[in-house]
């Protein structure tokens, strides 16, 4: 709670938090705001926005409701973004922790694997993975995770390397604590904050990657996504630009919101500085 309080004091954090709260609210309430399948044909094709009260944002080439698409698209985008970022962080933490804690040959092997993933551009990796596996939501999440877990892994390892030399870790060893317990209960909580600080960036990147995949026709065709809406609108860009502009705006607002939040989060954590770190340490040490 204290962190949220601090976050709201920074202007970036406050704006980002509000934007994201609204988007998450829309995503959760999507089925209530616009019930039924958002892909169903709701009216005439290519109704302009703000002309028909029943279809506030108009319709696309097939007569599908653009407002319903944007509302349900928020759900897909945020879900994929959050799930991919979460998966990347969990995987990164695990690999970083094991590599840093075990060192030696295990560290070498794991870090070379991380190198391999860092060399390949994340988007290309996702593109190849989805092309081979076929497009569906879990595959897309996995594909984005593949390109995103290396950074948190590297960060965690660096933290762990410095933490494992601390006195309290040595003390834990002396009292006969199992190494796995030391890693999870003593070191992990300390290694977490910097990784969490980059989590927002990971979410934003994941949302953009998902949109790009859908734009190229590699998203899940059975759910609406902003990327696929932009791609569909591209065919009629000259005559009905709003079909691309509206989902594009939704995408921009969401990503900007996430970035502002991450900026605010970094400031709040930094402003807190040593006090916060100390508190965490005190809380975690036995």
């Amino acid at each position: 709670m204290n962190l949220i309080h601090k976050l709201m004091k920074t202007p970036e954090g406050a704006v980002g938090f509000i934007i994201l709260a609204i988007m998450i609210g829309i995503a959760i309430m999507a089925s209530t705001i616009s019930p039924g399948d958002p892909l169903r044909i709701a009216g005439r094709a290519l109704v302009a926005p703000f002309t028909d009260p029943a279809l506030p944002l108009g319709t696309d080439r097939l007569g599908r409701d653009v407002a319903a698409g944007i509302v349900h698209g928020a759900r897909t985008s945020l879900l994929v973004g959050a799930a991919a970022a979460l998966a990347a962080i969990v995987l990164g933490l695990l690999v970083g922790l094991v590599a840093g804690f075990c060192s030696g040959i295990v560290d070498e092997v794991l870090m070379r694997v991380v190198d391999a993933f860092q060399i390949v551009p994340g988007f290309l990796l996702a593109l190849a993975f989805v092309s081979v596996m076929g497009a569906s939501l879990p595959v897309v999440v996995l594909a984005i995770t593949l390109g995103a877990w290396a950074d948190p892994a590297r960060l965690t390892r660096a933290q762990v390397l410095s933490l494992r030399e601390r006195d309290y870790v040595a003390a834990a060893k002396v009292i006969g604590m199992h190494p796995a317990e030391i890693a999870v209960r003593q070191i992990l909580p300390q290694a977490l904050p910097p990784v969490l600080a980059i989590s927002a960036t990971l979410v934003a990147a994941a949302i953009l990657t998902e949109a790009a995949l859908s734009f190229l026709g590699l998203g899940d065709p059975n759910s609406v996504t902003w990327g696929s809406m932009i791609a569909e609108g591209r065919n009629v860009l000259r005559s009905s630009p709003w079909l691309s502009i509206l989902p594009g705006l939704a995408l921009i607002i969401t990503v900007v919101g996430v970035y502002l939040l991450s900026e605010g989060l970094a400031k709040a954590l930094a402003g807190d500085g040593p006090a916060m770190q100390g508190k965490l340490r005190n809380g975690a040490a036995p």
């Binding site: 169903r40 080439r61 097939l62 065709p221 065919n235």
Partner: protein
């Protein structure tokens, strides 16, 4: 597109009447067409193999037909619907076992060697029959080609082969390639497959991958005062949105095969200096078809297939997806093949209640979640329209309680999934009707095609009565008898629904007003463009 009270077909009829009434002045205009100039055309793909004798597809013909010529080309008003090219006359024997072609004299290949009947015999026996996607079917019973002299080729068949079929197939399957460059080489990998040598009005100058193809005037072309143009450049513009902009900027003068998206035509039509032409594709009718996997228990029931046919609103498909540039189908033969078309077949009006009743009757009631059963739907990725129809079909089926899950894939993966692995329940396909049902239409429903043959019946449908009619028509010499058999074929397909024909469409060209004599034959976009001219 504003909803006009007249259909596109009516407009076509009216415009062809107008065309006929002004045929004489048009001919004069053609003769007075300005000579010279460079025509720049949008091309959306770069085929790996550009040899039309091996790959008889529109993507290849679009470029290669200017360099390599067939024995005869389709024609609006010629005898048998043909105009002579490398053959000047053809005649079938009464028993259907031989066809004699008289070949044009005084024709030379682009490298200076004379064109003779040996080239035709070589192309037929070594390329069309064993290697070509369509020639395999049309020339399946071709046994030998006799060459009594340099300008006569006699095709001998082991079984009676209808002259009607060969005539209808000539423009597509009979591209002649030079024997002296191919003999004794691996034909499939011969360098002349990418650097074409032919007899056509243009010679192949160069191909810069990713940029352009350049064809230049063949000074020794056999056609008098042909061609009009000095040069044709095919600019590679894979982005469809780019073609419209390039036309407006006058970087290109022609975009064929609906390179400009249908949704953009309304706006483009108002741009001064550009014209929209829907003629010139009459013999290239694409059909929008729902392929059905009959291995699925539910889909093996004719009632379910009828229900699906009733659930599709063909007017919506024509008006909203094709923006009026298409017409609703009644069966496997399109309306603009009047030689074979039979309107007297069962039809399936858009009626969701009837569809639901049929599904209930078949024993597939809606479950507690409103769903009767779930299907895997694979829309072909080749056209915007096939993909959009996939989106529409999913909604149309949802309305009657069938949950269709769309699976998208690129062309290669789609073809493998549908035609090799049979990993689909429904698929959306755009087969082409090529002037005769035996060329590429009967294969869509006839049984016994091995897995892996694209655009064939891979849905596991087998109907011995239908197979018998197809086999009989393939060896029936009398055109009247043969047409009757194909009328019967249409009735069975429309009744039993091995697949569902939804709509049929041609393409649209957008051209600068300066481009003359476009669309002067029913395969214009893939013909030789010898008469096409450019006003300075």
């Amino acid at each position: 597109m504003p909803a006009l009270p007249v259909s596109r077909r009516q407009i076509l009829q009216i415009s062809s009447l107008l065309l006929a009434s002004t045929a004489l002045p048009a001919l004069l205009a053609a003769q007075q067409a300005p000579a010279g100039g460079r025509l720049v055309v949008a091309a959306d793909s770069e085929p790996k193999n550009l040899n039309p004798a091996i790959v008889a597809s529109n993507g290849v013909f679009f470029i290669a037909s200017k360099v390599i010529e067939p024995l005869a080309e389709a024609s609006f008003d010629g005898k048998d619907g043909l105009q002579p090219r490398l053959a000047t006359a053809w005649e079938g024997s009464g028993d259907g076992l031989r066809i004699t072609f008289k070949l044009r004299e005084g024709v030379t290949w682009h490298d200076g060697k004379p064109f003779t009947s040996a080239d035709v015999a070589f192309s037929a026996l070594n390329v069309w029959k064993p290697l070509q996607n369509l020639g395999r079917i049309v020339f399946a019973n071709l046994e030998a080609v006799d060459t009594p002299d340099d300008h006569t080729a006699v095709f001998r068949f082991s079984k009676p082969t209808p002259i009607q079929l060969i005539r209808n197939a000539l423009p597509v399957v009979s591209s002649v390639i030079p024997k002296h460059l191919y003999e004794g080489t691996d034909i499939a990998t011969n360098p002349a497959n990418v650097k074409l040598v032919g007899t056509g009005p243009f010679t192949f100058a160069e191909h810069k991958p990713g940029e352009y193809y350049r064809l230049v005037r063949n000074e020794k072309y056999w056609g008098k005062d042909q061609p009009s143009l000095d040069e044709i450049i095919f600019r590679v513009l894979p982005d469809r949105a780019g073609a419209g902009a390039a036309l407006e900027a006058e970087e290109i003068q022609l975009a064929a095969f609906s390179a400009v998206p249908l949704a953009d035509l309304d706006r483009i039509s108002k741009v001064p200096g550009l014209k929209i032409v829907s003629r010139g594709y009459e013999a290239l009718t694409y059909q929008l078809v729902v392929e059905i996997n009959h291995r699925r228990k539910e889909l093996a029931d004719p009632k379910v297939r009828q229900a699906i046919a009733h659930a599709i609103d063909r007017n919506f498909v024509v008006d909203t997806i094709f923006l009026g540039y298409a017409s609703a189908s009644t069966g496997p033969v399109p309306k603009n093949a009047p030689e074979f078309y039979d309107a007297d077949v069962p039809s399936y009006a858009f009626d969701t209640q009837k569809a639901e009743a049929l599904l209930d009757e078949a024993g597939y009631k809606r479950g507690s979640d409103g769903i009767r059963f779930t299907l895997k739907l694979r829309p072909a990725p080749y056209f915007n329209e096939t993909r959009q129809f996939g989106d529409y079909l999913r909604q149309a089926l949802a309305a009657v309680g069938i949950d269709a899950q769309i699976v998208n894939a690129d062309s290669a993966a789609h073809q493998k999934a549908v035609y090799t692995d049979h990993d689909f329940d429904l698929a959306v396909a755009p087969p082409v009707f090529r002037g005769d049902p035996a060329i590429s239409t009967t294969i869509l429903v006839q049984s016994g095609t091995p897995a892996g043959v694209p655009f064939s019946n891979q849905g596991g449908y087998a109907n011995s009565a239908l197979d018998a009619i197809i086999a009989k028509a393939a060896t029936t010499i009398d055109s009247g008898e043969r047409t009757k058999l194909y009328n019967e074929f249409q009735k069975i397909v429309a009744t039993d629904l091995p697949l569902i024909n939804v709509a049929e469409w041609g393409f649209i060209s957008v051209a600068s007003d300066r481009v003359l004599n476009i669309a002067d034959n029913p395969r214009w976009a893939v013909s030789n463009w010898a008469t096409t001219a450019l006003q300075p």
